[in-house]
């Protein structure tokens, strides 16, 4: 197992800049998830690590060794593609065995390792089939098997689950997590899906337009988004933003005012336009005599999914969402005015999008 280090890498296509001076160090045995909107450069980074793309500038090191100019096959890295890229004319066995055959291992050794890996993935009963005769999940497993069988230094996953249905995706997610625990391998995992990102990652790297927006442990990123972009990207439904102004130690919005302490900031708030960021799950319908800060809102409509529900409302001109427990919404109806209290909030500068915390503008 090995660490991967991207040292100020850039990627240009002609005049189009895809990545600019991006540095990232991935520790040995760590599972790093790259998330970000479509087109932000996730696949590009992965393909550069694999050696399928050459960076325009910068160095890549694996296990301390500079591999920037090394051929993909010599980097000892495995990659699982979104399309699985199984060889259609080969059986499951041959697919999994392919990397070993290319390395000219002894046939006995090959079948031993293939059997071991396919058993581990629960596809040992499919060895004679061709990919066309497999379900999506089975193909996915074969692709993983082909990656695992060589015991590489690191694994790269490019949205490996995006072609699966929701239920299967959940199960495979669990399996990948288990695999990571069992193999203790270095993994770089690219996804669109914040759920996958939150549950799998040792460390989350959030990319935007070719730059790292924030990285850290998933919960830290969730709790303390450094920018409005991160706050919106992580969490579902996304964080609500209500315009406020600082007025004599408190934050005043449309028909409400909350103390600065409610956002964990003591002083030094800059003037100008600010946004109060409150996650839907932090909002509650206030009962009378509540100590928590509250927003005054008018209900638009209420959505119930059984276990819980969402309340759509307006604070002044701003639409917000609150997540309700099953019991909490009883007796509310559209048009009604309610007080919504919140346990946690974060303040952002509207212009720069950056979070405002103790140290002032971060």
């Amino acid at each position: 197992m090995a660490g991967i280090e991207l040292d100020r890498i850039s990627k240009h296509y002609g005049d189009t800049v895809i990545l600019e001076e991006l540095s990232l160090a991935i520790n040995e045995g760590e599972l790093v998830v790259l998330v970000g909107p479509s087109g932000c450069g996730k696949t590009t980074i992965l393909r550069m690590i694999a050696g399928l793309l050459e960076p325009s500038r910068g160095r890549i090191r694996i296990d301390g060794r500079d591999v920037t100019e090394t051929l993909p096959g010599e980097r000892d890295i495995a990659m699982v593609f979104q399309s699985y890229a199984l060889y259609p004319h080969m059986t499951v066995f041959e697919n999994v065995a392919f990397p070993l055959r290319v390395r000219r291992l002894a046939p006995g050794e090959i079948s031993r390792r293939v059997n071991e890996v396919t058993k581990l993935l629960g596809i040992d009963h499919l060895l004679g089939r061709k990919p066309a005769a497999l379900s999506g999940g089975q193909r996915q497993r074969v692709a993983m098997g082909r990656a695992i069988v060589r015991e590489p230094k690191a694994f790269l996953f490019d949205e490996p689950l995006s072609n699966l249905d929701a239920a299967l995706r959940g199960r495979m997610r669990g399996e990948i997590a288990g695999l990571h625990r069992r193999l203790g391998a270095t993994m770089v995992y690219v996804t669109h899906d914040q759920h996958e990102a939150m549950t799998l990652a040792d460390r989350l790297v959030l990319l935007n337009k070719g730059k790292i927006e924030q990285m850290g442990r998933p919960l830290d990123v969730y709790r303390e988004p450094k920018t409005r972009f991160v706050a919106e990207f992580i969490g579902s439904p996304p964080m609500n933003f209500v315009p406020v102004e600082e007025r004599a130690g408190s934050l005043a919005g449309a028909g409400f005012a909350v103390p600065l302490s409610a956002v964990g900031v003591k002083s030094g708030v800059p003037g100008g336009r600010l946004l109060l960021g409150v996650r839907p799950e932090a909002l509650k319908v206030a009962t009378s005599g509540e100590a928590l800060p509250t927003l005054k809102a008018e209900i638009d409509w209420i959505e119930r999914t059984g276990s819980d529900g969402y309340l759509y409302a307006r604070v002044g001109p701003t639409s917000i969402v609150a997540r309700l427990s099953a019991a909490a919404g009883q007796g509310l109806s559209p048009g009604q005015r309610v007080d919504l209290s919140f346990s946690q909030a974060r303040l952002f500068d509207e212009v720069s999008g950056r979070a405002v915390d103790d140290a002032g503008v971060a």
Binding site: P72, G73, A78, F81, Y87, H89, F98, R150
Partner: protein, 741 residues
């Protein structure tokens, strides 16, 4: 409805009667002249119209290529000409088919040159049973002689001062003029017609007097061969690879001083080239004059059309004054004695020379057997001029080939068992069809009649254009065609082909020899098509290659050119003396190759031509297949550690396989039947050894005395081979659903 049909039928009948009435007063004349000869003929016809305003004359110029065939089909059907002009060597055929009748009145024979009258005389036509030819009445003729064609010696007056009187003199002059890039003498060596002067001048003959047996194996024939050998190999004054067009070009450019050729050559000589003609020299060895073949163009009356008007027109067209016009304006060597006494004609030394040559000619034989002689004789000449065979041996080989080709037709067989068998087979098939018909067959058929009505036009077209010719071809294989007869011979043709008993297996006429060559040809071509196509497709597929669109277009070009054009171009490139390929070899310090002298070089020339034509198809197919391969597969293989070769074997090959296989099967069938290339490039040379099955079938039908039945049997066998091949390969391309993702 029915009444409408009756009225319509009556109207058609009346109209056709009327048109026949209209024709009665009209004389229709057919000819195949062009340019000057045509204009001169038209003038004589105009003169006749002027003098006989009440006789209508319609003149039709029919293209030469289709002329004979048109006469054969039109005259018996009643819409042919009343009068037509044709060469006398077709007489035997025309008499047998009863296309003509003898000139009604006694000919004013004193009017014409004897040599032109003789070949047309009733009774002079060889190989015709006396009954069909009519009694040999002295003075009766099948037609009026109009003009004649034969060979003379053309020479450039800037190179040759006085024409040679003997062949030794000719060789001496030629020798003095031959130097690199120039030859003293040239003529089309590939055709016996141009060798004929030496052949007959040596005292050899083609046929026995009755026209029933060949006489091409003789001391005299060998002597003519020795003379050819001397011209080409010993004195080297004649280029070996100059065909008709090249001879003309060389004469015009001054690259050859003397040419043996006929009157048609005059119009091919460029203006400004100083030339004259002379009669051919005496053969020094035999001390006899060289005697070229003579063709007389006669004016013939179509069977049953000998009306006074027809005869009137004929006599006007062959009159001395009309002949004078044709001689002066059309440049024709005419058949009328008086024309040559005319001072204006006498001033044309050309016509005088032709007339002088006429006295030393051999009329083209009319016996059917002669058609069989050309291919073996041409082959013998080719062998002699290559130095491959001694003259004597070469003519002996030709004679034995004629004997093989001239075998008597197989015994006639009763068709009854075959007809019975066929009927039984049909009944059986019908019974099976009825027995295994789907449930409620008739009811469903009736219910869907609108659908069948839509299919009907196509079905009729397919039946007429595909099924009928195919079945006729199949049926033809059970018949044998001889001169003037057709007989049912059962399986005799098939048996003769399959057992190949008449020749050893190594003989090019043997079916098995040709089959092996065909398979070799197919395999070599398809391998090279796929190999080169694949290599180019791989070169042209990477996205980073600049200008690959342009390269693709350039490489597809060979495919877009009609293949016979390419074939002719390559034939020129491979010409041994004047071709670019040998020029390059010589420039590289290598020795030139006689491309069509040996089996392997000739085979290679064919293959090169066909590869040039065939690789773009494979390239395009493979380019498409390559582009359909997902890039991910290559990426995955690279990450898995596969090198370029392993990616090719592990990803590219299996991925293009499904597209490649049908292309290979199709290409195999095309190549197996690639008639044009073999027919035009090597022409089967040497000795028919590079012929493939289809060209061999063609030769049996159209070169070897019209053995249509034998040729049809050949085609049927080719068909069976290809059906078997596609049955076998169909299993290979059967959809393997598994293999797709």
């Amino acid at each position: 409805m029915r009444r409408g049909l009756v009225i319509g039928g009556l109207a058609v009948a009346t109209l056709s009667c009327l048109s026949r009435l209209g024709q009665a007063a009209e004389v229709v004349l057919w000819h195949s002249y062009r340019a000057g000869e045509m204009e001169a003929l038209d003038r004589t016809v105009d003169r006749f119209r002027h003098e006989h305003p009440d006789t209508k004359v319609r003149v039709l110029a029919v293209p030469y290529g289709a002329y004979q065939q048109k006469l054969i089909s039109a005259i018996p059907a009643g819409h042919g000409p009343d009068l037509f002009i044709a060469a006398h060597d077709q007489l035997g055929d025309m008499i047998r088919r009863e296309l003509i009748e003898p000139v009604p009145a006694a000919l004013a024979s004193a009017q014409f040159l004897d040599e032109t009258l003789r070949p047309l005389a009733v009774g002079a036509v060889q190989g015709i049973a006396a009954g069909a030819a009519g009694p040999a009445t002295p003075g009766r003729s099948w037609g009026w002689p109009m003009a004649f064609k034969t060979l003379v010696l053309f020479y450039r007056t800037d190179l040759v001062a006085t024409p040679p009187a003997t062949t030794d003199g000719m060789i001496e002059i030629a020798h003095a003029l031959t130097r690199p890039g120039r030859f003293g003498l040239a003529y089309n060596l590939a055709e016996f017609y141009f060798h004929a002067p030496w052949y007959f001048g040596s005292g050899a003959e083609l046929l026995s007097a009755d026209g029933l047996s060949a006489r091409i194996e003789s001391e005299a024939a060998a002597a003519s061969g020795a003379f050819l050998r001397r011209l080409v190999l010993e004195e080297r004054v004649v280029p070996t690879d100059a065909n008709g067009a090249l001879v003309t070009e060389m004469f015009n450019r001054g690259q050859v001083a003397m040419v043996v050729n006929g009157p048609w050559f005059i119009s091919e000589i460029d203006r400004g080239v100083p030339w004259k003609i002379a009669t051919l020299p005496r053969m020094s060895a035999s001390d006899r004059p060289a005697r070229p073949l003579l063709t007389v163009e006669g004016l013939f009356v179509a069977k049953g059309r000998a009306t006074p008007e027809t005869v009137g027109l004929a006599e006007a067209l062959v009159s001395d004054s009309a002949a004078r016009i044709r001689a002066l304006e059309g440049g024709q060597p005419v058949a009328n004695r008086a024309a040559y006494d005319d001072p204006e004609v006498a001033a044309r030394s050309v016509l005088g020379t032709f007339r002088a040559q006429l006295e030393q000619t051999v009329p083209m034989p009319t016996a059917p057997l002669v058609a069989l002689l050309w291919e073996p004789l041409n082959e013998a000449l080719r062998q002699i001029s290559r130095g491959a065979l001694a003259p004597k041996v070469a003519f002996a080989a030709a004679a034995s080939r004629v004997r093989v080709l001239n075998q008597p037709l197989p015994e006639s067989e009763s068709a009854a068992p075959f007809v019975l068998g066929l009927l039984l087979l049909l009944c059986g098939a019908l019974a099976v069809a009825v027995w295994r018909r789907p449930p409620r067959f008739v009811a469903r058929l009736l219910a869907a009649r609108a659908a069948y009505a839509f299919l009907l036009p196509t079905a009729i077209g397919m039946t007429l254009l595909v099924a009928v010719p195919f079945l006729m071809g199949l049926g033809l294989g059970f018949f044998a065609f001889g001169p003037g007869e057709v007989r049912f011979v059962g399986f005799a043709n098939f048996v003769s082909i399959i057992t190949a008993a008449e020749y050893p297996v190594t003989h090019p006429l043997s079916f098995y020899f040709t089959l092996v060559v065909t398979v070799l040809w197919t395999v070599a071509n398809v391998l090279l098509h796929v190999g080169i196509g694949f290599a180019l497709a791989l070169l042209l597929s990477p996205a980073w290659l600049k200008g690959r669109g342009l390269f693709r277009v350039l490489l597809i070009l060979p495919w877009t050119i009609p293949n016979y054009i390419t074939a002719l171009v390559f034939k020129g490139l491979f010409n041994a003396q004047f071709g670019a390929v040998n020029a390059v070899l010589v420039a590289l310090g290598l020795s030139p190759v006689g491309w069509f002298d040996g089996f392997w070089p000739a085979f290679a020339a064919n293959v090169v031509t066909n590869v040039w034509l065939g690789f773009p198809f494979m390239m395009v197919t493979l380019l498409g297949a390559l582009q359909a391969i997902p890039q991910d597969l290559y990426d995955a293989a690279r990450v898995d550690g596969a090198g370029a070769w392993q990616r090719f074997v592990g990803v590219t090959l299996p991925q293009v396989g499904p597209a490649l296989l049908p292309a290979v099967i199709l290409g195999t069938i095309w190549t197996f039947n690639m008639f044009n290339i073999v027919f035009l490039v090597s022409e089967g040379q040497p000795e028919g050894s590079t012929d493939i099955l289809v060209t061999e079938a063609y030769r049996w039908a159209f070169v070897r005395n019209g053995r249509y039945g034998y040729a049809a049997a050949y085609s049927t066998i080719i068909f069976v081979i290809l059906v078997l091949y596609s049955l076998v390969t169909r299993r290979l391309v059967a959809p393997r659903s598994e293999a797709r993702v």
